[in-house]
């Protein structure tokens, strides 16, 4: 099964963001834009993963969700979250050289 957007490499090329968690909601300050974002668990988890190391959506799904059927069913959610984080300018993508 391929993940939509899996031909891209997701990364964050910006100064480290600040993060505070309040009752499961993550307040993120991005010094690159000066914006403050409020993220639920999944986007915050994906942001951390992408910030640590550039990753394809496929690899991200494997790392976060595992390779069983329940994990694979999350692929659209992961892709949508990556698009959301990109729209917020928290992450970027580039065509993956591996594809």
């Amino acid at each position: 099964m391929s993940v939509s957007g899996s031909g891209e490499l997701w990364y964050r090329d910006a100064p480290r963001y600040l993060q505070e968690t309040f009752d499961g909601v993550h307040a993120i300050f991005d010094p690159a834009t000066g914006e403050t974002h409020f993220l639920a668990e999944l986007p915050a988890l994906i942001l951390t993963a992408v910030d640590n190391h550039p990753v394809t959506a496929e690899a991200l799904l494997d790392r976060l969700m595992g390779s069983d059927d329940a994990g694979r069913a999350m692929d659209q959610q992961v892709s949508a979250t990556l698009q959301f984080l990109a729209a917020a300018e928290l992450v970027e993508s580039t065509p993956s050289a591996a594809i």
Binding site: L18, E20, F22, D23, G24, V25, A27, F29, P31, G34, T36, F38
Partner: protein, 294 residues
């Protein structure tokens, strides 16, 4: 014509005030006698003049101009509105320049050294509520600015006249018929305005910071009754940032300061319709007999 040169001690700011309008000088004295001096050797944060224009409006339907450091940023106001023009002009000066502090759009009062922050947009009732709490013994920090010192996370007082607008004037007089209100200004750009004088204790304590302890988002709603509800920290942070004049400008400093406030304070929303019950309920949070609100 007397040339009045006064220095107003306004919390962290030293404000020079020059005017030839004796009525305005007298009103300043009514509100800030304990914070006024005439020491010409002080370094000023703002050098304000309240002076007539040089044209015919000096004599015909006379007006006054607000000058700051030699510039005149606003249109003239009728001479009888010199005091509210001064107050709003000083607020503008602070809001556009005092980025040494995180500036919350909030009423702030203190019980001892514990601050209650009441952020809110115009119409939320924060000024009227701040006035009522002050009349019942809370120390007035400010009705308009919550000045946060980011390196310490505390609030700096700047007690000034609280402008009550339109029906809020009657509401405060009904709450406390002996309230020390200044003159009525019937035709300002914000409607009918009258100011509550800060008490002498608040002016004397205006260099004593307070630590944020309660964060209460008020909303006046006629007939609603008084409803105080805990607010989750994430939403409190979001609303606090929204009600901060210079949140974006100060970037990371704002974020860290707002986090510190939300972490250290009990956070609530508060819908109210009656001032007496509202003050009773909020004052109960600050019950000195125990840790009210925890």
């Amino acid at each position: 014509m007397t040339d009045h040169k006064l220095i107003l001690d306004a919390g962290p700011f030293k404000v020079g005030v020059r005017t030839v309008d004796s009525a305005f000088a007298k009103t300043l004295d009514f509100f800030y006698r304990d914070a006024l001096s005439s020491d010409a050797m002080q370094v000023l944060d703002y050098d304000i003049s309240i002076a007539p224009p040089r044209n015919l409006r000096r004599w015909i339907r006379p007006q006054m101009l607000f000058g700051i450091d030699g510039a005149v940023p606003f249109e003239p106001h009728p001479v009888e509105n010199a005091f509210p023009m001064f107050e709003w002009g000083l607020n503008w000066c602070i809001a556009t320049s005092a980025h040494r502090y995180l500036m919350l759009h909030a009423g702030t009062v203190a019980f001892g050294d514990r601050a209650m922050i009441l952020p809110g947009t115009p119409g939320s009732g924060k000024s009227t509520l701040s006035a009522a709490l002050h009349l019942r013994g809370a120390r007035l920090l400010s009705d308009e600015f919550g000045l946060v010192r980011p390196e310490k996370g505390d609030l700096l007082p700047m007690p000034r006249g609280i402008p009550l607008k339109n029906t809020s004037i009657e509401a405060i007089l009904e709450f406390d018929p002996a309230a020390a209100l200044g003159p009525t200004y019937p035709k300002t750009r914000k409607g009918r305005v009258r100011h509550l004088r800060p008490d002498a204790q608040s002016l004397l304590a205006q260099h004593e910071p307070a630590v944020p302890r309660w964060l209460v988002f008020p909303k006046y709603q006629a007939g609603s009754g008084e409803i105080l509800q805990p607010l989750d920290k994430a939403e409190a942070f979001r609303q606090l940032a929204f009600n901060c004049f210079n949140y974006q400008l100060m970037g990371e400093t704002s974020f860290r300061a707002a986090v510190q406030i939300v972490r250290s304070a009990d956070c609530y929303t508060f819908t109210f319709s009656r001032l007496d019950r509202a003050v009773e309920q909020l004052s109960a949070l600050a019950d000195p007999g125990g840790e009210g609100g925890r």
